[in-house]
Symmetry: D2
Subunit: 377 residues, 4 copies
Amino acid sequence: MKKIRMGMIGGGIGAFIGDAHRRASRICNDFELVCGVFDANYERSKEFATMEGIDLSRCYESVDAMIEAELKLPDGERMQSVSIVTPNALHFPFATKLLRNGFHLVCEKPMTMTVAEAVELEELVAKTGLTFALTHTYTGYPMVRQMRDLVASGVLGTIQRIDAQYYQGWINSIIHGTESRITGVWRLDPKHAGASSCMGDIGVHAFNLIEYTTGLEIKEILSDLSSVKDDVSLDLDGTVLLRFGKNLKGVIRASQVCGGEENAITLAIYGSKASLKWAQENPNYLYMLSDTEPTRVFKPAHGYNEKLAEASHTMPSGHPEGIYEALANIYTGTAKSIRGQKFDPGEFPTVHDGVRGMKFIHSVVESNKKGNVWVSI
Amino acid sequence: MKKIRMGMIGGGIGAFIGDAHRRASRICNDFELVCGVFDANYERSKEFATMEGIDLSRCYESVDAMIEAELKLPDGERMQSVSIVTPNALHFPFATKLLRNGFHLVCEKPMTMTVAEAVELEELVAKTGLTFALTHTYTGYPMVRQMRDLVASGVLGTIQRIDAQYYQGWINSIIHGTESRITGVWRLDPKHAGASSCMGDIGVHAFNLIEYTTGLEIKEILSDLSSVKDDVSLDLDGTVLLRFGKNLKGVIRASQVCGGEENAITLAIYGSKASLKWAQENPNYLYMLSDTEPTRVFKPAHGYNEKLAEASHTMPSGHPEGIYEALANIYTGTAKSIRGQKFDPGEFPTVHDGVRGMKFIHSVVESNKKGNVWVSI
Amino acid sequence: MKKIRMGMIGGGIGAFIGDAHRRASRICNDFELVCGVFDANYERSKEFATMEGIDLSRCYESVDAMIEAELKLPDGERMQSVSIVTPNALHFPFATKLLRNGFHLVCEKPMTMTVAEAVELEELVAKTGLTFALTHTYTGYPMVRQMRDLVASGVLGTIQRIDAQYYQGWINSIIHGTESRITGVWRLDPKHAGASSCMGDIGVHAFNLIEYTTGLEIKEILSDLSSVKDDVSLDLDGTVLLRFGKNLKGVIRASQVCGGEENAITLAIYGSKASLKWAQENPNYLYMLSDTEPTRVFKPAHGYNEKLAEASHTMPSGHPEGIYEALANIYTGTAKSIRGQKFDPGEFPTVHDGVRGMKFIHSVVESNKKGNVWVSI
Amino acid sequence: MKKIRMGMIGGGIGAFIGDAHRRASRICNDFELVCGVFDANYERSKEFATMEGIDLSRCYESVDAMIEAELKLPDGERMQSVSIVTPNALHFPFATKLLRNGFHLVCEKPMTMTVAEAVELEELVAKTGLTFALTHTYTGYPMVRQMRDLVASGVLGTIQRIDAQYYQGWINSIIHGTESRITGVWRLDPKHAGASSCMGDIGVHAFNLIEYTTGLEIKEILSDLSSVKDDVSLDLDGTVLLRFGKNLKGVIRASQVCGGEENAITLAIYGSKASLKWAQENPNYLYMLSDTEPTRVFKPAHGYNEKLAEASHTMPSGHPEGIYEALANIYTGTAKSIRGQKFDPGEFPTVHDGVRGMKFIHSVVESNKKGNVWVSI
């Protein structure tokens, strides 16, 4: 099958997330990187293109230049989709331009800087009918998809509590001055990162995982955030109380100052009949708890899994796949959508998930600012 | 050494916590059960005494009868301490009577029904100079004690976040009507359990563990509780936001409706230099995380442990001790105090911990009632 | 119920295994320590008796003296059972004397020094009709008992492979001279320890666990042992190939020089339909694997367990019990036998298990000596 | 940088290992698949080439045809390396032909059918000076490489015991007739699989891991193999005793009938000062045990790791990479070698590892055939 011709914005030398997108696109084998604006600095962008083996004539100085030049190329050569892996503030302007010019998009999260932008983007996607995939990468893990399908099957009974965690420690070294990571610093600057550091960067993943796996909408939140050090203006840590409706509450805990934690995302969904627990650092284990039965451990590549989970792992059981394969699974789903093939709605997060995420981030900031009160999402 | 003669109130046939106290007292080998009021029903109390091999003449019909009779016994025969393992509402009246008559006490938590009672009890203990141990059993685990000493040593740097969890699922079977556990039901009745089910029974353990291990006081809390089912009047689930002072926040999560969870207490203390994590169901593993070093796993019975932790485990390393030994460790400390021997303040929780616990419970209930606002402890 | 009056031989000051037996006997609450010969040195023995609160008139200078004096006591006072916790070489002479004088026995393993002694002891037990319990303590764990009953139920199908491990590292510090543990040294001396160190002390536990859980007999073994250092005469390390009959093989791996290992006993039983795995350091988790179903994790205190496993854990689920409770479970079974009550054959290892163990140890030593050839057990 | 033009033999529709090689080659981004003989059936081969987007003119009917045609292509177009992913029996004939015609090779293990072939291949590689990488994939994991470098650093002291396991259960369903996996069956046929099933397919991985991580050579082995069912002619299960020289022994345990095990490779290296443990199913955790220090858990993407381990993981810590990335790491090293760049000897297994592996397999079969005697490797 012909590969989808893909462009990239951002993701040049030293940018780990751009590299992740490229690897994922190669793993799934449905995309071919043909052009890009890899760095705001054109020289560095070209340096990167050379390293990567990209034709320099398609390494552009700006997004405008890219759009203009690509549109002039014949159908069978022109880029078809673009992956946006820039700092947060640039997602919206680039995404809207690209959509208006007919390009499918894969976009990093958080999707935009404001809720208004997110809503505008959602309308634009609807109008254009183009594919828009938001890379909430963790939804690409087979066992997260299994979780979603198990919840949908009703096996948990009534859901009674939901608890999600996203703990990291990497900002410690920055705020305590023993290290200064270039790729990290923009996350502490509201101009580039938006209204929130911790909740915008990682809390929103926890939020998305909850809504992805349960199919439920979080209705109201109450947050308490902390910037931990006096000279930090954004949140680095926080707890968010959740309400889903009558008799179902939950909590999101997120922090970038949990020293020694690496990427400790956990999700627990407790039901009246059974419960599910998953942790990202050992992504191939899904635990189903019950009051009356032994705990059951689901793993990928077994006939007992639901269809989408099963299709999301290619190796035989016991051969662990990881984060790149999770992202590749999202690219696979995106490719199906771009090609007009049938796909499961769980195969990639959409612009609507992006709208939900932006509403979450802004509600959380608002609740905290108003003195920890309930705010509707 | 002569054993301390111990009486017991409550803990008769079918009561698991009374049995735990007796086992612990036998393990530590400093106590000898000589008398008691084991059941409100005198016949059942005597039946139990017979089974247990207690002299029937010292199986009393009431606490008053017990005090009266024991006081008449000569010094070398009279009971010296009493373990109170009744439902919550009876702790205070019995404790005050016994203290006023010169008996040392070991008391189950939550200590009283109200904060006023707790304060009164604290004053009474101070006045009498008697030993009062509150069985926050989890503080008896070697690795919890190691955690306390590691925090005190300053190795964590500045504490930046604290997260404690206590999840159980056992009430599910009661509220959903598939099972009715006799020992469980009083916990749902405000008359016997007090103002709270979940927070009073288990949330308070998480609270105590935080204050025990860190030596910090929680200053303010904001809670959101849930009774899950419309016909339940007390909380079965909740999240409590914590503030310890400037720039240190945390969270307690507690629930009795997390189906399939057994007794899932976890505690994480995150510092600027290192962090500590512990989970009750694997109590002999303490994890020290750091951004720059491999995670270290502390286990009991190693020379690298602090003194109290080391003294709290008797078997060679790799021979797991459990919950009974944790409780026995508290009894051991209590015995030292009763005998006037030197002991470490970490060896048993005191009436002051009980006062703190009651303040916690009542603040949590108040915050929830007032619409999830901040309340001082 | 009246407690069984128990004597003890060995187990004085500093002896951890004697302390373990006393604690276990107190936990199960069926025994009362009334007399003993706690140390070869009579002064130290009396010192210990004083500390322990044992009547000094029943702290004896020798086993002969103990037997003579106790036999003169009236029925209701005389000791009924004796726990032998001396170095290995003394088990047999003391056990035979005590049996001939009508005392029930609890005996540490390895049971004797030679197979002939073991067989003689078995005949003596049969002749006297007395209770003889061998403390293969690990058989007291609830999940080991569950394993036994699950195997017996046939749920595994045909057993295809058995793999048991017992790894420790404590002898490292002795053989490399950085530490000299008094209680450890006799294990390296053939006069006190017998023909083997590693296989006699720990390999035999692995052997026993296999026969206990599967009900199978190991027919033939081939061993390769290592004494690791030139100046050590006994084995500190070894691997034993096992044959159970046609098409079922297995392996026992045991070592005392696995630096950093504490008490790492593991057992895996692989069947054509399902498999079971257990590890002593987390004794409350039993894993059932299957090619077609999610792995199931059995834990104590759940209605899904078999009867004996269920009766072997007293706390509610999630409250970990440990090694002392395992040993107490064996004492409980022994008490039932002494009292003539009904008991499950899985409740305590017998003199026959001791015979099997001695045959194993001697076969292993013989196979190794003969150049790693097959030897029948 | 220009990609290396890669051909492939085998790996067509339904072949999981060929797919793994292609994914790995794309992840590392140093190779480009340009031609191949993907299936013995030419039609299926072309069908596969079409799916994969390979130019049909370079989808060849035979290896001879491939060599002939590719040699006619100009330098900048001709394939440079070939990945051989056929059944075992074809490795040797294809490898020798390809080497003689100047093509670098990546070859699946076991490398050949006989030791003589392996030695001949080693001589041929030496003579041609071409790159030959044998895909013992597990050596590509960052923590296996860390293990190798930690051992080399001497931190373990004297190595005292080595224990490797490779347990799978997938053949159960075939031998018990409930399933018939097409890709599996050739492994049971000596004509295609060689002298051994279990040891040839998986035992040899354990052997390689030991020699890779320790730098030691296994001198002698004694094996006991089992074919489990009467109608199976090759080994499906076995234990191999190992001798490395004076005072260092070890064991390899391998089985394909451990029902429910997926791909349970473990390696433990015990030294006089410290020990290392690793398990493939959680490949990003490496445990360093010590008698005097808390266990340390090494994870990828941390500054504390050795250089090669650190370079072998691209994501930030806590983002798990898996088996495809391990194989990609081997492809990366192979690419460096092909391009004449500097590389670490740990970056890919060589033809010499293949010779060692074949000697191991044949020694194991010989030892077993001769009645479980010691055989030199």
